[in-house]
Symmetry: C2
Subunit: 345 residues, 2 copies
């Protein structure tokens, strides 16, 4: 590691200008500065222009803390993600579309990805944010306590828990059930599930969907492997499954990244997909649709989910009356591509 130090001469370093400074220079009262810059219609065009010019020259920007204190709102929203979600770089991110939707609505984004509930709670109940988007897998007390504190919030990527929190999610249980039906309908009887971590609600939902269907089909034998939502899990699972004495004829994965890992390991071993084994994913990440994979999977729409969540959140903030909490359930649809087929006769 190389360190470089550069010499700079001390700058004049004057104080950061306030509206008072602008007022003095422009020859008006301080509140007039505020009104002029806020574009109040009652300010005469002449003074408005003069004030704006002076503000520009001095490089004046209204201090956010002052505004927030006075107004009681910050136009800032916290996005609470779990550290895990953030770390896994190859799953459909919610944080980015959430940030975009918030930015579009004129809100700033404060990112929170801490483990401790209390740390999170302290940072969203101190008036520093106008609302909270909970994208974390918290089966935690945070939503309850937010409601108690009267902080507007929305749960995202979670089905309506019916306990009074607004939420937006995709019906992963149904999506998983659908693709399991497709696979079962093809006649597969030796089926393997490769699932994500138990603490993630989305993984549990998908598992429930898979199992709900497969348990109802006579003669289907199901085995289950568990790991992360990641590629390495898929590779490891495929090594175990494809090397086993009784190979499964279909491998249903809880995420596309897992499925891609399975696919790659299958190709490494010269196992034909879908000739010898059917592989399905979940999420429809961009890579899944590309030529070399053509993964059969389940599509949902994180962008739309984010937009709906933001809509639900802002609806609470706009009105003082906390209208009945609304929940939005988005569909999850099977996308048939090239990695499924009937079991080898």
């Amino acid at each position: 590691m190389i360190r470089i130090r550069m010499h700079v001469e001390g700058p004049p370093m004057s104080r950061v200008p306030t509206s008072k400074d602008v007022a003095r220079v422009a020859g008006v009262s301080q509140p007039t500065v505020s009104r002029a810059l806020a574009g109040h219609p009652q300010v005469s065009p002449a003074t408005r222009d003069r004030v704006r010019k002076v503000a520009e020259e001095l490089g004046y920007v209204p201090l956010e803390s002052g505004r927030a204190l006075r107004r009681g709102r910050t136009r800032r929203i916290a996005v609470v993600a779990s550290p895990d979600d953030l770390l896994d770089p190859c799953q459909p991110q919610l944080v980015v579309p959430l940030h975009q939707a918030l930015t579009a609505a004129g809100y700033r984004t404060t990112l929170l990805a801490e483990a401790a509930d209390t740390a999170v709670l302290a940072q969203v109940t101190d008036g520093s944010v106008d609302g909270v988007v909970l994208a974390a897998h918290s089966g935690s007390t945070v939503p309850r306590r937010l409601a108690a504190s009267g902080v507007p919030h929305v749960l995202v990527n979670r089905l309506a828990p019916a306990d009074g929190h607004p939420s937006c999610g995709a019906d992963h249980r149904q999506g998983a059930a659908e693709i399991a039906s497709v696979v079962a309908g093809l006649g597969h009887t030796e089926v393997a599930l490769v699932l994500g971590p138990r603490r993630m609600r989305t993984s549990l939902d998908r598992e429930a969907g898979f199992r709900g269907v497969l348990a109802g089909v006579r003669a289907v034998r199901t085995r289950v492997l568990r790991g992360g939502y990641d590629h390495a899990t898929g590779v490891a699972a495929a090594q175990a499954l494809l090397g086993a004495a009784r190979r499964p004829t279909a491998i249903l994965c809880a995420s596309d990244t897992i499925a891609l890992g399975v696919l790659h390991e299958a190709r490494m071993r010269g196992v034909d997909v879908p000739g010898e084994v059917t592989v399905t994913g979940y999420d429809d990440v961009p890579m899944a649709g590309l030529e070399p994979y053509a993964l059969t999977t389940v599509r949902h729409d994180p962008g739309r989910m984010a937009a709906e969540a933001v809509r639900l959140l802002l609806a609470q903030i706009g009105t003082d009356a906390p209208a009945a909490p609304e929940s939005v359930v988005l569909p999850a649809d099977v996308v048939l591509r090239g990695t499924h087929g009937p079991p080898r006769a």
Copy 2:
């Protein structure tokens, strides 16, 4: 899409408590509440405990706007990323390690990923953040204007531009030069470069490193393809290159995701790697090291880069004297795995 509305009865909805409320209930003056909760040693244990108990009961949390206004600091740092970086989910992210480093240091993270310089500037010069981490590819005016406003900042993932901004980056030019030397040393003469977008500084650095070496080797013919930093670019590039009349014997990619795309297309076509063609990546993303790829690439350390950047930033904030801006250059090292070899005789 299904919408669900739930009925809730209007809660009592009392005002959010302030230190004044706590003071009244605890029977002390309002500043004593502040001192008690801040843990000032002069407060008697008895009143400290009483105040804390009341605060707890009322659910009092000091309002952040009030603190910030009074103290002149927010303990908040803005991370400015480019929307592109955020959107591409499969490249080594800086945002996550930056967030972690900031959290560890007791700072909150405000995420900014807007296109317009003016929008960014407005949000970081209004006193809402104590400092700025610039992770964006901005060849923009933002750093200059931040310096002019006296806002502490640090450039990250960029080599020291020697114009007085503290910065932290990896020497991608050197890393690229090194891997190009390896490939040239193997005797390759038909070399293709698959690069990222021109507007990204990291891509330009890597290009310069590649070209600097290859131009100096007699008899090397270089062709260049350009696209995004993503998988699809690699797939498309490989289609073009491997289908060409005169195939390259080595393909140097500006990112691992590109290289993985190339690898997959090569396997689809039954082109042996590294027997028929050498493929190298850049970044050493987790997937690159996995068995089925074993990609020869260049490693650098985004986590360490983030940590160093945060260190440099906080150093400016702690001290009033703006010490000489320091820059840190981290190494980028070749990782030899299984996708390189001599050209086929």
